[in-house]
Symmetry: C2
């Protein structure tokens, strides 16, 4: 038990109403929608919690100060929060990294009658885009500090918050902020924006994230959509896109670009041992996602190695030609595919981008005229060594609140952990209250109320333990 458990239980309706207020701001970074408004709301919730707060705008960054007056920021602001422990001002500092932006809500028709931004509560669940990723996780951290202050007038260690608004589009400006505010953000360890609870209710403490390279391939055909009878004479850019894509990946998922895997290192024996012990409910995962088998019929340790350590090439979007009902016999002017390549440590997004472009050129695609290879975003991968001391308070907190924990070498997802490690030099640890079945990034995203409650208590416990290691 943490010191504030009874207060957390008493205040759950306040937790839910603040989370609802956050969900009701449709802060979709892909559309740059209501981001400043959502940042203001986060700052207001911190204010009420008693946390010193500040909104950091892009134009305040040192390298942006010469920006012309009236020019609008490209980047949404970061909400910074801080509380210096009165009892332990020279002790350790924990930084909570979160984000207030969300994924787009479409396809809207699959939200089962629930508004994507309603924050509706049904039984033990709160629904809505961001209810888990990441507004649900964010609220647990703010509330842990709020109730600590309310109960004791202090927090057991120094606390900082960095809450950004571009995580779902690859955090393109976070690096600038981290470099600019290196001193302000200094800390001994970062609690990452999210973490999973497995089907048995045990938290997974994850120590790494894959990187990502997002690109768009755009093939160009005739100067406009033309009548498809001309397909006999005019090359269709959709066919060029398909043959180009087909050179990139084998049917077994292997990426066929030269040197793609050059920097990939195998897991160490220590990592493999942790992987071996990591529970992984294959059947549950298949059931949740409605698939009969995994890619290449993978099973056992192969699944775990792939999940934690294999690069991927995913198609997230294909668009060409007529998108309406029925037939329209056109030969499209363009065809577009968006790809996201997950990367593992030492794979550099820019270098991989260069290799992709070179690959297409060498396969006969003119990357100047015929096919545009557009860089959308890139982030490096990160893995924290299993031996870091900062893991101790997190493990102890998890054990006290949940009775058990699982260590995971790396999550399969991506975030800007790489920048925190490189720029702040701080170890990052993922722990949170999300479940696989929360449908993050999908329709009907939800969060369990009892896990919101437990996660606040766990965060409080981490604060209590941080100065003990």
């Amino acid at each position: 038990m943490s010191k504030i458990d009874d207060l957390v239980d008493a205040e759950m309706s306040n937790v839910v109403s603040d989370l609802q207020a956050l969900i009701r701001q449709p802060s979709v970074s892909a559309r740059k929608q209501r981001l400043v408004e959502c940042a203001n709301l986060v700052a207001k919730i911190m204010e009420v919690a008693g946390i010193e707060n500040e909104i950091l705008y892009q134009h305040q960054l040192d390298n942006k100060k010469e920006q012309r007056e009236g020019e609008v920021d490209d980047a949404p602001p970061i909400v910074y929060g801080e509380y210096k422990s009165k009892s332990n001002p020279n002790g350790r500092t924990i930084l909570f990294y979160n984000h207030y932006d969300v994924q787009p809500e479409d396809p809207l028709d699959l939200w089962e009658g629930k508004d994507a931004f309603s924050g509706k509560v049904e039984g033990n669940y709160i629904f809505g885009r961001g209810s888990a990723d990441d507004k649900g996780e964010l609220i647990t951290r703010i509330k842990a500090v709020e109730y600590y202050l309310k109960k004791t007038g202090d927090v057991p260690c120094n606390v900082k918050f960095v809450v950004e608004g571009e995580e779902e589009v690859g955090s393109p400006h976070l690096k600038d902020y981290l470099i600019n505010y290196q001193t302000k953000f200094r800390c001994d360890g970062v609690i990452w924006e999210s973490g999973f609870i497995d089907a048995k209710g045990i938290p997974i403490i994850s120590l790494g994230q894959k990187g990502i390279l997002c690109v768009e391939l755009i093939t160009k055909g005739p100067c406009r959509d033309v009548h498809s009878s001309l397909a006999v004479l005019i090359e269709n850019p959709a066919w060029r896109l398909i043959t180009a894509l087909n050179t990139i990946r084998s049917v077994t998922g292997e990426i066929l670009i030269k040197d793609w895997y050059k920097e990939v290192r195998a897991f160490t024996d220590e990592e493999l041992a942790v992987l071996e012990n990591e529970p992984f409910n294959e059947d549950e995962l298949k059931k949740v996602y409605g698939v009969q088998k995994f890619l290449n019929n993978a099973k056992g340790i192969a699944v775990k190695i792939a999940f934690a350590g294999s690069p991927t090439c995913n198609i997230s979007s294909l668009i060409s030609g007529y998108s309406g009902e029925g037939s329209k016999t056109v030969l499209p002017a363009t065809a577009r595919a968006k790809l996201d390549f997950r990367l593992v440590p030492e794979m550099d997004p820019e270098r991989q981008m260069h290799r992709l472009t070179k690959h297409l050129r060498e396969h006969g695609y003119n990357t100047e005229q015929e096919i545009e290879v557009k860089f959308l975003s890139g982030e490096g991968a990160a893995r924290v060594p299993i031996s870091i001391p900062f893991l101790k308070p997190v493990k102890e907190a998890a054990l006290e609140i949940y009775g058990d924990f699982i260590i995971s070498v790396s999550s399969a997802g991506t975030g800007p952990m790489y920048y925190f490690q490189k720029i702040l030099g701080a170890p990052c640890v993922c722990i949170g209250g999300s479940e696989l079945s929360n449908k993050s990034h999908s329709p009907n995203e939800s969060m369990r109320l009892d896990l919101l409650n437990k996660t606040i208590k766990c965060m409080a416990k981490i604060l209590e333990k941080t100065n003990t290691y």
Copy 2:
């Protein structure tokens, strides 16, 4: 000169205003939009012209008469028009086949400030979806009859009109109408719904049309769009679609499905001689469509043979995943491609559909569960022999009005000519007033006013000549 040339010149503002009224009905058959309204308008214009007219509904067809009361027709109606020549009631009958439906207007943002359904006139052009294909062509035929009646109180031969509302979606119900009304529609020759004028102002008299098979391929992945980090374990249906498509067509455009070309016969020597003489401005075509070269760098007779006689496989639509701005890292639940295969005489759409499905199965795609092969529409190809007598009045009319003509073995496009030949046993000849630069099926579709004028005169001349051969 035809007998009504001066009247046509005097009445051009009436021609334009009736065409504008037609364009202003957005009768998009792919969306089943305002089709009955447009049919009523066509009937009204015929009525004013003095042409007996009737709207034929699907539920009136013999095989539909047991349809329950209140049930809505799947098919839009056909507008039937007739005028029996008083001076020549037992002479020949010409049937004008046209359609009042249009292609969808998107992409809307490429309409250069012009509403797709405005019918705006600028200089020598009228703009709008359907201004050429096929409302512009339709109006020339109605007006030829109208002005003949106005000037002489009669027409020189019997005239019939069949104006359907589903040509742009493959005329799925026309066959039923033709079978049902075989007697009513009986005629000696059909003037087809459209025909082209070349860059030098010479009409192309075309004697054939390719067939078509439209299908949709739908691949299925997880039960909903999921986070793309799962691409390491879950097969992405967009990748399955791409590998499947890649088995269908070679980079040179050859269709790789077994027996696809089995029934295709080569052109006869007579057809080849006509093809040789057919002018074909390769540079002009490349300029209009903004391409540097043709598929496989084809030139000369190879271009003509391909255009008139080669089957194609075109992608008219690709859709998967996130279609908005920016990145959304999802692994899509489904991926969809719409294909249209152009067919040549003796290729049967149903048999080709069966070959496609078999091909996918033999290449390891489970067509029950993993990939759905959906039939959208199919039409056979048609070619009228070069020696038919009905060609004589058409050639003579073209010679008198335009000073020259070109005979084309077959157009590259598709229409339901096959049914007219098989069911009515009537030869079909294409002649009209459209230009390649009219941008039919594309944004900024237009029709030249001087060609509307000339085409009315040419139609009048055909009526004059029909009883002379």
